[in-house]
């Protein structure tokens, strides 16, 4: 070893040929790489198929059924599944299949907006807390702690109780209870990324803090946020169903799955299909999002890469 020898004959300035090149072809961005990992994951594919299916039926709901979700028919009360009523009818003679299909719209919408709302406000607070630190961090983090100290459903019930029961207020409540979950995640990510050497390098190059924050810190914190958002989708749908079940979410005759469960629970013995199909739908959607979320976590985790 003699690094000081003026080795002008050494292969300068050529690249180090002795080191093996990575087998990845040129220009595979980290996102493309993650996507390739994701589609290799069979469970994630199953999750995507399930969610894709529910999105499909939500979009094309009116084309999939000849009934309307609120049309009652006393003559057709509690009919078991048949060729005319695929999933049977409920205690008011409404077609359960139709209500499930329209219910998918509501659940997906609640999940989407609750997650977007929680994500937006949670990330904003998390970035502020993580980047500025000191007393701002202190205040925001303590608020998060207080919110997380309550069981989330209890907090949601309290918020809906204040705002009044409706689907929209349930959505707001679910968004609010999810803010600290995103907020803490973003904060911890920002704090750890802030200390990375490439952030110091960005500063040394003469970048402004806004640029460092949005071009360097944030893009490196997105992976866990995306995973959390996907998993949060499932949780939000479950929470919406729970609020619906308690009568604090969607009001009749809105075909909300949780509400359908609670309206039919007294017929669980005599007409089990009335609770089976909404319950199954909730389970499938939540399962689908969780499978995608787990797949994304594996695909985006840099430690999983060889």
């Amino acid at each position: 070893m003699e690094p000081t020898s003026p080795s002008k004959n050494s292969p300068f300035p050529g690249p180090e040929h002795q080191e093996p090149q990575t087998s990845v072809p040129a220009a595979a961005s980290p996102w493309k790489e993650a996507f390739r990992q994701l589609i290799k994951n069979k469970l994630a594919i199953v999750g995507m198929i399930i969610i894709g299916f529910f999105i499909f039926i939500a979009i094309f709901a009116p084309l999939l059924t000849t009934y309307t979700y609120q049309a009652m028919s006393a003559a057709d009360r509690l009919q078991p599944p048949s060729s005319t009523h695929w999933f049977g009818t409920d205690d008011l003679g409404r077609d359960i299949f139709t209500r499930i299909v329209y219910g998918a719209r509501i659940s997906l919408m609640v999940g989407f907006f609750a997650v977007i709302g929680a994500l937006f406000f949670g990330s904003l607070l998390g970035i502020i807390a993580g980047y500025f630190g000191r007393w701002i961090d202190m205040i925001i983090s303590r608020i998060f702690d207080i919110m997380l100290a309550f069981p989330s459903i209890l907090l949601a019930i309290a918020i809906v109780a204040i705002l009044g029961p409706s689907l929209q207020n349930a959505l707001i409540a679910i968004a609010i209870i999810n803010i600290p979950i995103f907020g803490r995640l973003v904060r911890s990510k920002v704090i750890s990324i802030r200390e990375e050497e490439y952030i110091l390098a960005a500063k040394a190059q003469g970048m402004k803090s806004g640029r460092i924050l949005f071009h360097h810190v944030l893009p490196n914190s997105t992976a866990p946020i995306i995973v959390q958002a996907t998993l949060g989708f499932g949780t939000a749908i479950l929470e919406a169903a729970a609020l619906g079940f308690l009568g604090l979410g969607a009001q009749p005759p809105t075909p909300e799955w949780g509400r359908m469960l609670s309206d039919s629970r007294q017929y669980i013995q005599s007409a089990p299909w009335t609770v089976l199909f909404p319950g199954l739908s909730i389970m499938l959607v939540v399962l689908g999002f969780n499978m995608i979320g787990d797949g994304l976590r594996d695909a985006l985790d840099p430690k999983m890469k060889s």
């Binding site: 690094p3 980290p30 190059q205």
Partner: protein, 333 residues
């Protein structure tokens, strides 16, 4: 030298508070850089050596205000950078760049090489999009990579190649001064010499000024014109490379030099082995910081802080052994 220095560092200090207790009040200080002064002339390479924790990296970072200095002045072309507003400082960074130690941590993994190298140009408003892409291509070839590497991501490169990217990033805005913070210590020995030669060639080609921080004496000897030796937050000796290697004045430097391995196994030389550990920088010894381990310690070393002064022509040291007019060091030896 009669030339005006490019960079003058005067009494630079960086103290890190030690927080303790319930309310996180400062209960002490780590004196990472404790009153360091030196000058860097245009076109020269000033090496700074010292063992781990002696404050050499902190000095480098404090010069660029990547960590705010606690006290002292850093004059770059006569202007004190420590007193600049953040916007002035931001513009100033075009002339003062840095190469980092760890090529794996210092490149943003989410940006491709084109973006990593183009961003410094963008934030300093140099050229339009097309110009920048061309400059990126040009600089990649200068550092020994190929122009079409611009679309690749850092993880697709080896350590040596990444460090070339790091060098290109510092170089692309054509700075006057580059602080190199142990740029080769994270690399394989086989790659070190390539990177060192590249840095040396670039320095000559672009008339760059380097502050080259390292703990490897042979690396520093290879690239530097002058060398400063740091111990426990203080600079103990500063001299031209030849003088320092031929005749180290400070006992600490002498012991460092004796530790450099000789390629010739027949050449016997006396090793000066230091006793004990480096004292804690939060509670440095009184007087000369080296007195606890110095083989030539005298009584006054324990009480009086030796002044860092010119002992021979352009050969500075902080040691009481040289207090008389005549260099007394030889007689004591």
């Amino acid at each position: 030298m009669t030339v005006k220095p490019l960079l003058e560092v005067k009494h630079l200090k960086k103290y890190f508070p030690i927080k303790g207790g319930v309310f996180g009040r400062p209960v002490g200080e780590v004196k990472a850089v404790n009153d360091v002064s030196f000058e860097v002339y245009e076109g020269e390479v000033l090496g700074i050596v010292g063992e781990s924790g002696c404050g050499k990296s902190t000095t480098g970072k404090a010069l660029l205000r990547l960590t705010e200095p606690s006290d002292g002045e850093v004059l770059f072309e006569g202007r004190d950078v420590t007193k600049m507003s953040s916007e002035e400082m931001r513009k100033m960074r075009r002339d003062m760049q840095m190469i980092f130690q760890d090529p794996y941590a210092s490149l943003n993994p989410r940006h491709n090489v084109g973006k990593i190298l183009g961003e410094p140009l963008l934030v300093h408003g140099i050229g339009d999009k097309k110009d920048r892409a061309e400059k990126v291509k040009e600089i990649l070839e200068i550092v020994g990579l190929s122009g079409d590497h611009a679309s690749r991501y850092p993880h697709q490169f080896s350590g040596g190649q990444r460090q070339r990217i790091g060098i290109a990033r510092a170089l692309i805005v054509r700075p006057k001064l580059i602080v190199c913070d142990e740029p080769v210590s994270a690399l394989d020995v086989s790659v070190q010499s390539q990177i060192l030669n590249l840095m040396e060639d670039l320095q000559e080609e672009f008339k760059l000024t380097y502050i080259f921080i390292a703990h490897d004496l042979s690396v520093v000897k290879h690239i530097s014109h002058r060398i400063g030796v740091m111990y426990l937050g203080k600079m103990v000796e500063l001299s031209s490379k030849d003088n320092l290697y031929r005749e180290p004045l400070h006992p600490y430097t002498q012991s460092l030099m004796s530790a450099v391995p000789e390629p010739d196994p027949d050449l016997k030389k006396e090793r000066i082995i230091l006793e004990g550990d480096v004292p804690s920088p939060s509670n440095p010894p009184s007087g000369c910081p080296f007195h606890t381990r110095c083989p030539k310690v005298m009584d006054m070393c324990k009480t009086d802080v030796p002044e860092f002064r010119e002992i021979r022509d352009s050969h500075f040291a902080a040691c009481h052994l040289y207090n008389e007019e005549e260099p007394a060091g030889q007689q004591i030896k």
